[in-house]
């Protein structure tokens, strides 16, 4: 994958593969594999928010876990801050872990109910031996709580005394404790009420501005992703089908899957909602145990061609589609936009 950027990316993921071996019986004989992540490539630039969207089970979270090296990789390369972290041993990963942190989806199971807030937020400091003396430790906790909009005198309470939104703020404070450069947000607002979602999203954006953070933001809610992301990658069944700038993606989705996904966002206006054209996908998501040949989306694609079931399209710059001369950086994995196949196909559709 070639992106023309001068700056070294903060995180570079190249052809990442995570396959789960399915075993059977006492001897754990392998009987097949689930290709949860099957050749995912993307880059995160310093200070940006990269949204990763897709249906449940498409491999978004597995990608995040793999980037954190919390999930054994089957193949691929992960480069973080210019270093290849793919082969690092656990003890070599420790300094790297300081630089990348995670915010979790479920604000209830992500905080230990038997620890005080102070100890939860301070745990990263403790683990990395940064809690040298009591006073500076307390001061740092108070500072962190203040940053995420919590009152420092709440620090000796327990998680059950907080609401979902407050708990998520605690989780964010914990992620900030080690001053990381990358924060992976795995559906950080999907468990919250809509009004709280906006607060937490805005908090994340404020923190990004203040601290120069880079986010890998995973979500299935497109309006949330649209609100926070600079660039968006769309995943389907273990692969990225399209990467584009936020405005570009929402204005001119290229991959048929992205188009279908965007057209499934309900409009707030009921009359518009009733009359707008909708491009629905037929069928179910195939099992990742037996993914379709060629392009994984071809059995459900409204614009399927012969080549789609044979060749898997590469994630490439848009060259031949309906917007061939657009100077954006969007990448799409679809034969429609491949110079040798898809030319002119789209015009017959409209």
């Amino acid at each position: 994958m070639s992106l023309a950027i001068n700056e070294e990316p903060l995180l570079k993921v190249d052809d990442l593969k995570v396959h789960f071996t399915l075993t059977e019986g006492f001897m754990q004989k392998p009987v097949g594999s689930v290709k949860a992540v099957d050749g995912v490539s993307f880059e995160l630039r310093h200070g940006e928010t990269f949204g990763l969207v897709g249906e449940s089970g498409c491999g978004k979270s597995t990608t995040a876990l793999a980037v954190l090296r919390m999930q054994p990789l089957t193949g691929g390369l992960i480069e973080f801050e210019g270093n290849d972290i793919t082969q690092l041993e656990p003890h070599q990963m420790r300094p790297v872990r300081r630089r990348m942190q995670m915010v979790y989806q479920d604000p209830f199971s992500s905080l230990n109910p038997r620890m005080r807030i102070r100890d939860i937020i301070g745990e990263p400091l403790l683990v990395h031996g940064l809690a040298t003396d009591r006073r500076s430790f307390r001061a740092r906790i108070n500072e962190l709580m203040d940053m995420v909009g919590l009152l420092p005198d709440m620090s000796d309470r327990y998680p059950h005394e907080f609401s979902g939104g407050q708990r998520q703020r605690i989780g964010i404070a914990r992620a900030l404790a080690l001053e990381p450069s990358l924060i992976i947000c795995d559906e950080p607002v999907s468990a919250l009420d809509v009004s709280i979602q906006a607060q937490v999203l805005n908090l994340l954006m404020d923190l990004q501005r203040e601290l120069g953070l880079t986010y890998l933001f995973i979500a299935h809610d497109l309006s949330v992703v649209r609100h926070i992301s600079d660039r968006i990658g769309v995943m389907y069944l273990g692969r990225i089908v399209e990467i584009a700038g936020r405005d570009e993606l929402f204005a001119r989705p290229k991959h048929p899957y992205t188009q279908a996904l965007l057209s499934s966002i309900p409009l707030p206006d009921p009359t518009l909602e009733a009359t707008r054209p909708q491009q629905l996908i037929v069928g179910e998501v195939p099992s990742p145990k037996t993914p379709p040949s060629g392009c994984h989306f071809h059995p459900r694609c409204p614009k399927v061609m012969d080549v789609c079931s044979v060749h898997s399209p590469n994630l490439e710059r848009n060259q031949a589609g309906p917007f061939p001369n657009h100077s954006d950086e969007s990448l799409v994995a679809c034969h429609l936009y491949d110079a040798s196949f898809g030319r002119g196909d789209r015009e017959t559709e409209t």
């Binding site: 919390m70 990963m93 995670m102 989806q105 199971s109 109910p113 683990v127 989780g171």
Partner: protein, 298 residues
């Protein structure tokens, strides 16, 4: 009234020690549990000072005073050899408490170690350990006990170790289940992704969250050990006579002379019931009080 006293005393107590404050909470929030604790403490004291408290020497026999009903001289009556039942119950408390606490303690430690290792690491180690536990559990408890005790011979240390091992391995399955469910919580994941060592995760996240299970396991084991010891004594494989244990008093002389002297079974039976029940309600109260989610909610 007692509320008032508690409220008046509380601020001073809080300064003095967390231990006292905890006990005040126990009394205020879990009175039944506090009663359990007191009863249990009472038996402990009886056990420790049994030699001073017992009005008669435990093996002092007086054949002219056989099978006497409870009276002022013999509050719990006398047995078929004219021994004072009260004295024997007191000494029995000592032996039964030692056996049950040591054995239940050993059992709980074994359960935690085996269960946490098996549940935390999962995969191959888990499978190997759990198949071993399966194999161990296919033997009926009593058969295993009889075999081991008949090999090493009866005696308090043997019984403690054997019962500890037996219940420890069986209980590890329960601990493992709790560990597996706690491990799935994202806070363990969060801790690991920070770079925390395995031991830190076990100590800070796994152990505190399996404590409710461990406390219940320990308190139920106390009762189970007392009963198992009784069963062994009944078979002549328990603590060797003439040393009295509640189990042997209940199942030996108590059963033989059930119709002539029902008090023989009554005294040790009531003691077993009282201790087991007291430990259980005390354990339940501890479990609730140690859970921060229960704090301040009355």
């Amino acid at each position: 009234m007692s509320e008032l006293i508690v409220e008046a005393v509380l601020p001073a107590v809080r300064k003095r020690s967390a231990f006292l404050a905890f006990n005040m909470r126990l009394i205020r929030e879990k009175p039944l549990g506090a009663v359990g604790g007191v009863v249990f403490l009472l038996f402990m004291v009886c056990g420790i000072f049994a030699n001073f408290l017992a009005p008669f020497e435990m093996n002092h026999t007086d054949l002219t005073q056989r099978l006497l009903a409870p009276s002022l001289a013999f509050p719990f009556g006398t047995d078929h050899l004219g021994r004072d039942v009260l004295s024997r119950v007191l000494i029995g408390a000592q032996i039964s408490m030692i056996v049950s606490f040591l054995a239940a303690g050993i059992a709980t430690v074994i359960s935690i170690v085996v269960g946490v290792i098996s549940g935390y690491f999962g995969g191959k180690p888990d499978m190997v350990i759990q198949r071993g536990v399966d194999a161990w559990m296919t033997f009926p408890d009593l058969v295993l006990l009889i075999v081991i005790v008949s090999i090493v011979g009866p005696g308090i240390p043997q019984i403690v170790v054997v019962l500890g091992l037996l219940y420890g391995i069986a209980g590890s399955r329960i601990v493992r289940g709790a560990v597996v469910s706690v491990k799935e919580n994202m806070y363990t994941h969060a801790s690991l992704s920070i770079g925390a060592p395995t031991f830190h995760v076990m100590r800070k996240h796994i152990l505190p969250n399996i404590m409710p299970v461990v406390i219940v396991l320990f308190t139920t084991r106390i009762g189970a050990v007392i009963l198992a010891e009784a069963g062994l004594s009944f078979l002549g494989l328990g603590v060797p006579p003439p040393a009295p244990t509640w189990g042997s008093m209940l199942s030996g002389t108590g059963r033989t002379y059930m119709y002539l002297g029902p008090w023989l079974a009554l005294a040790p039976g009531l003691c077993i019931t009282a201790v087991v029940y007291a430990v259980n309600i005390y354990g339940d109260a501890l479990r609730d009080l140690l859970d921060p989610r229960m704090r301040g909610s009355q």
